[in-house]
C-alpha cells in the first residue's frame, strides 16, 4: 500500500460522510464488523419496486472503511437489488479510485459486505460464501 490512498476525496468522505445516520422506518438493517480491526458498519435500506430507494449508514473505523461505505451509499441509491448482488471488489476499487493493497482491502469492502447482507436478508435468501468472505 502507499499513502497515496489518502487522497483528498477519501479524507473528505471520512470527515464529512454522506448519507450518515438513521433512516426513518427502514425495510432492512444490516451490520457487520471486521474482527481484525474492530471497524463497524451498519446499513439501513428502504426498498421500493426492487430498487434501493434510499439508504443510510453508520459506523466507526478507519478512513478507508468509512469513506468507502459512504461513497457506496451514493453509488447504490436507485440501483436494483440484482445490481447490488452483482457488485464486486472491482467496482469498489473503481469507485474509490485507489488500490488500498492486500492488508487494507477488507476495510474498503466492509460496506459492500454489509449492504449485500441487507439485500440478501430483505429477499430472505441465504448469503453466498462469496459475500461472507468479502471481509
Amino acid at each position: 500500500m502507499s499513502s497515496d490512498i489518502y487522497k483528498d476525496i477519501i479524507l473528505d468522505y471520512y470527515r464529512h460522510p454522506r448519507n450518515f445516520g438513521d433512516l426513518p422506518d427502514p425495510d432492512v438493517r444490516a451490520k457487520d464488523s471486521n474482527p481484525l480491526c474492530g471497524d463497524v458498519i451498519e446499513m439501513q435500506l428502504r426498498i421500493r419496486d426492487g430498487k434501493i430507494d434510499d439508504l443510510r449508514f453508520k459506523g466507526r473505523g478507519c478512513a478507508i472503511s468509512q469513506a468507502s461505505a459512504s461513497m457506496l451509499t451514493e453509488l447504490a441509491k436507485g440501483k436494483t437489488l440484482d445490481d447490488m448482488k452483482a457488485l464486486g471488489k472491482g467496482d469498489i476499487l473503481n469507485m474509490l479510485g485507489i488500490d488500498p493493497g492486500p492488508t487494507r482491502i477488507k476495510c474498503a469492502l466492509l460496506g459492500l459486505k454489509v449492504i449485500k447482507l441487507g439485500v440478501y436478508g430483505y429477499l430472505g435468501q441465504t448469503v453466498t460464501e462469496e459475500v461472507k468472505q468479502l471481509v
Binding site: S3, I5, Y6, C37, G38, G61, C62, T103
Partner: protein, 415 residues
C-alpha cells in the same frame, strides 16, 4: 534520566545480534516498535534451537538412549534458568505451557474450577488483556461467581480506593496485570497482593509485559501464580511459563490429561506425576523451552537493570518528542518511571489503522487497534489506539524516524 551504568551496554553491538534488524521494509530500514506484541530473536536463541534440533533432538523424559538423556537435561536446565530468572523457590514451581494465555486458562479452569463457588467474587482490573478476562468469565459463568473491575484514574493508574473497596471477604481471586500492554502502567503488584492475601484470596499476576523488560521476583512479589510468554522476551513462540507456589500447584488438579503427566494408568483410572509434570501432558515443546533458556541467558548477559534503564531512557525521550507533535493524545502515566516502554496514542482524527499504514510505508512497525483490551478501550472511550513499544535493540534515532513519520501523517491528513 541517564542512569549511572547505562554506558556499560553497547546498543550498536546488541543490534548486530538480531539479523532481522538489517532488513528493509518498503525500501526503508526496519524500525521495529511492536515489541509488546512480540519481540525479535537474537542469533544466540536461533543458534541454540537449531543446534538442539541438529544434534540432540529426542523425546524427553522417555528414552533411555543418549539423545533422550541430552534433550531431557537441556529441557530441565531451561526450567532451572527460568526458576532463577524470576526468583522461584524451587524449579518444580515452573510449568511450561504454550504462552501466558494458556497459563491463565490453566489457573482459571483448574484451581478456579475446584475453588470458586457460587456467589464468590473475582477481582480483575479494567486494563487487563483479554487473556486475563475471558478465562475468568468462563469460570464465573460456570460457577455463578461474579467479576468486578478495579478502574484507573486519569493517568491510567489503578485507583487505590477501589483496590481497598473491591477486594473484600467474598473475593476468591485477584488477577492483575503487572504492566499494561496499552497504558504501559506498572502496577503495584506487592501492594495488591497483600490486599488479596489479607482476605484469603488467590493472587495471580500476568507478567507478560513485565518479565521481558525488568527484574521480576515472584517470591518478593509473593504472587501465588504468575504467567508470561517467551516470544515477548527474545525467545520463540509456542512456549510460556506458569509459575505457581509449590503448595498451590500440588493442590491443583491437572489441566490436560495424557502421556507424560501420569504415574500409572489402569482401565479403572489413573494417578498423576508430581509437579510440574502433572501439568505437562503430551510431548512438550522442548526446543521452545530450550530457546527460552537461551533468551534468558542472553538477557542475563546484558543484565535486566540495563534492559530496564535503556527502555526507560527511550520512553522518556519518546514521551517528550511525541507530545510535541501537534494533535497527539498519549494514554497512560506521564511519569516514565511508572511505565514500561509501551506508548499508546492517537493523532488528531487519524484512525489508528490509517496511521499504522502510513508508518508502515516508512518502514515503521507499530500496532494499531484495541490491543486485546476492549474493556479498557471502552473505559477510555476510544475505538482504537496506535501503540509504539520498545526493547533493548531500539534507539533514539529510531524514535526520531517515528516523529518525522507522524509529522508526515499530519500533513497527509491536513491536520
Amino acid at each position: 534520566m541517564l542512569v549511572e551504568n547505562a554506558v556499560a551496554i553497547n546498543i550498536a553491538e546488541i543490534r548486530e545480534d538480531f539479523p532481522i534488524l538489517k532488513r528493509t521494509v518498503n525500501g526503508q530500514p526496519l524500525v521495529y516498535f511492536d515489541n509488546a506484541a512480540t519481540s525479535q530473536k537474537p542469533n544466540h536463541v536461533l543458534n541454540v534451537m537449531d543446534e538442539y534440533y541438529r544434534n540432540s533432538n529426542a523425546n524427553i523424559h522417555r528414552g533411555i538412549h543418549k539423545l533422550a538423556e541430552e534433550a531431557t537435561l537441556a529441557y530441565e536446565q531451561a526450567r532451572e534458568k527460568v526458576s532463577k530468572f524470576i526468583g522461584a523457590k524451587h524449579a518444580e514451581e515452573i510449568v511450561f505451557v504454550r504462552n501466558a494465555t494458556e497459563g491463565l486458562n490453566l489457573i482459571a479452569l483448574t484451581w478456579g474450577r475446584s475453588n470458586i463457588n457460587k456467589g464468590d467474587k473475582i477481582v480483575l482490573t479494567i486494563m487487563e488483556h483479554h487473556s486475563n478476562i475471558v478465562p475468568w468469565q468462563m469460570i464465573a459463568k460456570e460457577k455463578g461467581a461474579h467479576i468486578e473491575f478495579i478502574e484507573i484514574d486519569g493517568e491510567g493508574i489503578l485507583r487505590e480506593d477501589q483496590v481497598r473497596q473491591k477486594i473484600d471477604n467474598t473475593t476468591k481471586v485477584v488477577a492483575v496485570t503487572h504492566a499494561s500492554n496499552v497504558l504501559g502502567t506498572i502496577n503495584a503488584a506487592e501492594q495488591i497482593g497483600r490486599a488479596a492475601h489479607q482476605v484469603g484470596a488467590l493472587f495471580v499476576l500476568d507478567a507478560a509485559q513485565s518479565v521481558p523488560h525488568m527484574r521480576v521476583n515472584a517470591k518478593e512479589i509473593d504472587c501465588d501464580f504468575m504467567v508470561f510468554s517467551a516470544h515477548k522476551m527474545l525467545g520463540p513462540t509456542g512456549i510460556g511459563v506458569l509459575y505457581g507456589k509449590k503448595q498451590f500447584l500440588e493442590d491443583t488438579p491437572p489441566f490436560l490429561g495424557g502421556g507424560e503427566m501420569i504415574r500409572e494408568v489402569h482401565t479403572t483410572g489413573a494417578t498423576w506425576k508430581d509437579i510440574p509434570y502433572k501439568f505437562e501432558a503430551g510431548t512438550p515443546n522442548a526446543a521452545g523451552a530450550i530457546g527460552l533458556g537461551a533468551a534468558i541467558d542472553y538477557l542475563n548477559k546484558i543484565g535486566m537493570r540495563h534492559v530496564y534503564d535503556h527502555e526507560l531512557e527511550l520512553t522518556d525521550y519518546a514521551l517528550e518528542k511525541m507530545s510535541q507533535v501537534g494533535g497527539t493524545v498519549i494514554y497512560g502515566p506521564k511519569d516514565p518511571n511508572r511505565r514500561v516502554g509501551v506508548i499508546a496514542f492517537n493523532l488528531g482524527d487519524i484512525h489508528a489503522h490509517d496511521l499504522a499504514s502510513i508508518l508502515d510505508e516508512e518502514g515503521i512497525a507499530i500496532r494499531s487497534g484495541h490491543h486485546c483490551a476492549q474493556p479498557l478501550m471502552e473505559f477510555l472511550k476510544v475505538p482504537a489506539t496506535s501503540r509504539a513499544s520498545f526493547y533493548i535493540y531500539n534507539t533514539k534515532e529510531e524514535i526520531d524516524v517515528l516523529i518525522s513519520a507522524l509529522e508526515k501523517a499530519r500533513k497527509l491528513f491536513n491536520l
